[in-house]
């Protein structure tokens, strides 16, 4: 992948993706390049906050930016997410979500037995 395969860059990429607003920005950028202002607008986000999020995405190797005059424009970095890596990342997130549900169920079942089962 473009960001490199070492653990640190993977960590930065996953960290970058681990936020709904940043994923929203990626989604928006997948439809075309956009300015900081345009990226901040859907979330009612202040520009400094949007810049911070975009910096995280840039450090994660997911987006690149260029400045034209006073306007900084962001775009998706080509081939940022290797297809297979992306599939694994999605699949893991999905499974982690399911296993969180499983854990919640197991904890609830244990507490129920503790409180009501007389065992």
């Amino acid at each position: 992948m473009a960001a490199g395969n070492d653990t640190a860059s993977l960590d930065r990429m996953f960290h970058a993706l681990a936020d709904p607003q940043r994923r929203g920005m990626i989604d928006q950028l997948s439809r075309g390049a956009a300015s900081v202002k345009a990226l901040a607008a859907p979330y009612g986000m202040g520009l400094p906050s949007a810049v911070k999020h975009l910096k995280v995405l840039e450090d994660g190797g997911l987006v690149v930016s260029e400045k034209t005059g006073r306007v900084r424009t962001y775009r998706i970095r080509a081939n940022a997410l290797d297809r297979v890596e992306a599939w694994i990342a999605e699949r893991k997130r999905q499974l982690e979500g399911q296993f969180d549900m499983l854990e919640a169920y197991l904890v609830a079942a244990r507490d129920k037995q503790k409180n009501g089962g007389g065992q």
């Binding site: 993706l17 681990a18 709904p20 994923r23 989604d27 997948s30 297809r83 297979v84 992306a86 599939w87 694994i88 999605e90 699949r91 893991k92 997130r93 999905q94 499974l95 982690e96 979500g97 399911q98 296993f99 969180d100 549900m101 499983l102 854990e103 919640a104 169920y105 197991l106 904890v107 079942a109 244990r110």
Partner: protein, 161 residues
């Protein structure tokens, strides 16, 4: 036509005995409660026949047409210890992936250590379909957030695997 291979593991520790974790995989009602998808915009059909040679399916339809289909077949089951199954995932009429999954359970000092290993073949580039990517990305976090915050879980997921 392309085939790409991928393999990954997820390890989780649960505060419950291996029998209880195993039951959560083998009892249809419990399994559905944490893994099946529920949605207002699609009809979802779920079934689990937990035995070697038995199958599990999760079929989501939108307007009478198959939208997402997950089908699995159990290949090896050792009570409270191991489950091996193969599954495929289809989006519309395209088969996106075929995987072999091994779930192994072992007692740990705090309950159970579960190791989930998936070996997949990704077919013909369908794995990158944008819709699937969006669904896969949002789903886990939404559920996780609900669990962490103690809120009722909103099942907007369109498919499961």
């Amino acid at each position: 036509m392309t085939e790409k291979h991928a393999s990954f593991e997820i390890e989780r520790l649960f505060p419950a005995r291996p029998e209880q974790v195993f039951a959560a995989w083998s009892d249809p009602a419990i399994k559905a409660s944490w893994s099946s998808c529920h949605t207002d915009t699609m009809e979802v059909e779920y079934g689990l026949d937990f035995r070697v040679g038995g199958s599990e399916h999760n079929r989501a339809r939108r307007n009478g047409a198959d939208a997402f289909i997950y089908e699995a077949r159990f290949l090896d089951i050792v009570e409270n210890t191991r489950i091996v199954y193969a599954y495929d995932m289809r989006v519309g009429t395209a088969r996106v992936s075929v995987s072999l999954v091994t779930v192994s359970l072992a007692p740990s000092p705090t309950g159970t250590r579960m190791l989930y290993t998936e070996q997949a073949v990704l077919l013909d580039g369908h794995e990158t379909s944008l819709e699937q990517r969006r669904l896969g990305t949002e789903e886990g976090f939404d559920r996780l957030a609900a669990v962490v915050e103690g809120k009722p879980v909103v099942w907007e997921t369109k498919w499961q695997g």
